[in-house]
Subunit: 155 residues, 2 copies
C-alpha cells in the first residue's frame, strides 16, 4: 500500500484547526484517578467544541471525567480516526455549571456540538487549555508531530 508523503507543519496545523472546528465532532477524553486503591485511566467519547483556542466538553457534574479533571486538572484528548489523529494534552482552565455559563460559551458549545447540555440536568462545561498538540497520520509523520508545546504553537 502506498503511503502519502508527510504533510508540512503548516498543513498539519491547518488540518488540525479544521478538525477541531468540525461540527458534531467527538473526542476521546482520558483522565486519571485512584479507584479502589489502583491508579486507573478513565476514557470516554464526548462531543467537543473549539472556542477561543480552548477545548470545551460538557459532562455530568458527578461523572468520572468531571471528578478526575476537577481533582487532577489534566486530560489527554484524542481526535480523528486512528490513522489521522490529533492528540492534545490539556489542563483545566474552568468548570462552569451550564446554567451559570456565559452565553459565548454555552451558545458556542451548542453551535458546534450535536446537543445542548442546557436541555439536561446536572451538566457542567469543562474548559481545557491545550498545552501540547500533536498530529500525525502514518508512521512517516511521527517526526515533526508536535505543533504546540507549553501552550504555544511552534508552527
Amino acid at each position: 500500500m502506498s503511503v502519502a508523503a508527510p504533510r508540512t507543519a503548516t498543513e498539519r496545523k491547518a488540518d488540525t484547526l479544521a478538525m477541531l472546528g468540525t461540527p458534531a465532532i467527538d473526542v476521546w477524553v482520558a483522565s486519571a484517578d485512584i479507584v479502589n486503591g489502583a491508579m486507573c485511566a478513565h476514557l470516554v467519547p464526548l462531543s467537543l467544541a473549539w472556542i477561543g483556542e480552548r477545548v470545551v466538553i460538557a459532562v455530568g457534574s458527578d461523572s468520572a471525567t468531571a471528578r478526575n479533571i476537577r481533582e487532577h486538572c489534566t486530560a489527554r484528548l484524542g481526535l480523528g480516526p486512528t490513522r489521522d489523529v490529533v492528540m492534545i494534552d490539556a489542563v483545566l482552565e474552568d468548570i462552569i455549571g451550564v446554567a451559570e455559563a456565559p452565553p459565548a460559551l454555552a451558545d458556542g458549545d451548542a453551535a458546534q456540538a450535536d446537543w445542548d447540555p442546557r436541555t439536561a440536568d446536572g451538566y457542567v462545561y469543562i474548559v481545557l487549555r491545550p498545552e501540547r498538540i500533536q498530529a500525525w497520520r502514518e508512521s512517516n509523520e511521527l517526526s515533526g508531530r508536535t505543533l504546540m508545546r507549553a501552550g504555544c504553537w511552534v508552527v
Copy 2:
C-alpha cells in the same frame, strides 16, 4: 435524524466480537501514571489483536503505555467510531518481549494487526484480560451497555 432502535444484548455481543476480530483494527489505549507530580492519563492509538479472549497490543518496551501498564496493571480501551463504541476495562495478564513470545501469540498478533513487531527492535506484547466490556451506539443504548462484568460475559 432518526435513531435506530437499540440492539439486543445478543446483537451487541455479536457486533462486539466481530469488531474485536476485525483485521487491522485500532484501539485507543488509556493508562495512567504520576508525571511530574501530577496524576495523568496517557492515551494512544494502537493496533489490536484479539486472541483467546485477550486483547493483545504491541508497544515499545520503554513507551509510556508499557511503563504505566507494567506499574499499575490496568488499562481502559476504546474501539470503534465514537457512535459505535466498545469500551473495555482490562487488567494486565502478561508482558512478553517479542523474541520470547510463543508462536501462537506472535503469529496471532501478526495475522490480525497490520504490522509485525518482530520486524522492529525493543517491542513487547502486552496481553490484557477484559474485566468489563460495554458497547453502545446512541444514547438509547446506554441502558444495557454492559456485556461483561468481573471478567464474565453476562450475555
